[in-house]
Symmetry: C2
Subunit: 217 residues, 2 copies
């Protein structure tokens, strides 16, 4: 009798998961434009990736298309939302009510895509109690209590870099499992916590490698 590895890694590659929200965004846009069906080649053209990749990616989750016809846009949107667990709205907390925290809390683009900002925390006493987009800024003293009571799983971290790690530790200890970090610093977190980074400078520095600053093009 052969010995079988107990939990042979059979997971879907993370890089595939990372493309699904991009597909979803493009499909939702098509749907909004009134488009009924599309094909892997049309979608690929719009996104700048190959049609084979799109088909292969989707094939990890099932068969969503029809030969000769392509994909029914609305149906694929629905399937992708299910795969990404977007069938319920995720409540989200913003930490840091500075310029960026204000912009995030004022942004209306979250809700229709699966997220709602419901809490804002800050340490600054002059900020606490103010209201942004109907959400009152709360004291950081309330942080752990609120996260546990409301089962907050996702936070947007918009505090100065120097405080980002210590706030992260508090979030993780209280039960947060997904953090989108806007501070220009790498966070150290346990394995079960997902961290995303949003540092415009990192992206710009990636581009400058390819750009000649003088050349009139």
């Amino acid at each position: 009798m052969a010995l079988i590895a107990p939990d042979k890694e059979n997971q879907i590659p993370d890089i595939v998961i990372g493309r699904l929200p991009v597909y979803l965004r493009a499909l939702a846009y098509m749907h909004q434009q009134g488009k009924r069906t599309t094909s892997s080649s049309e979608l690929g053209r719009r996104l700048g990736i190959s049609s084979a990749q799109i088909r292969k990616d989707l094939s990890h989750f099932g068969e969503f298309g029809k030969q000769g016809t392509g994909y029914h846009v609305q149906h694929l949107v629905k399937e992708l939302r299910l795969i990404l667990k977007l069938d319920k709205i995720w409540p989200v907390a913003v930490i840091g009510a500075g310029f960026l925290g204000h912009a995030l809390a004022s942004y209306n683009g979250f809700e229709e895509r699966g997220f709602q900002i419901r809490w804002i925390f800050d340490t600054d006493p002059t900020q606490i109690g103010k209201v942004i987009n109907d959400i009152p800024i709360q004291s950081m003293n309330e942080l752990e209590k609120t996260i546990e009571l409301e089962t907050i799983k996702i936070a947007l971290l918009a505090v100065p870099a120097i405080h980002a790690q210590s706030v992260t530790d508090r979030l993780v200890d209280a039960g947060v499992e997904g953090i989108l970090n806007y501070a220009p610093i790498n966070l150290v977190v346990p394995d079960h916590v997902n961290v995303g980074y949003s540092d415009p400078v990192v992206q710009l520095q990636h581009m400058t490698y390819y750009i000649n600053p003088n050349e009139k093009f």
Copy 2:
């Protein structure tokens, strides 16, 4: 005499280029903390990647370390800045002076990392002429003229999604070669133009795949 491929692809992988700014950020932080030297294993531990990958990545550009000792932080910072063409400050334009455009224009974290926001454009007549962080908001009528005159190569795009593509076309035609797009839409650009995307929802949707919304963890 053998026939040699005229321009045998010998480029450094883009995925390697993309990690350099992350290394740079961590190293600059170490330097600021007064750290003189580091090693690939220490850096890897902080960034959550393997030491071998860091060494291999850097080896594409030269030999920057010393066996037994590691890397001199300040020296490696300098080398990475050169590789990424950050020895001069890149002037940057912001398009769209809404909530996000304001946050970006007010942000002081660009300059020490190689960028300076020097122009802000908007269509809204009630915004034009206002000043953010010493930068007057200009009319979009000035866009092409200014880009060409000042040789602007990089723009941050913070306009509503519906206008993002048409503004992009204008930027590209005028000579911009790097665009960091905050609108939740994919842009179509010619090959020589670099586009980065910053859509928090895409990143959150990536995370939710891995998170159980109820589980008290």
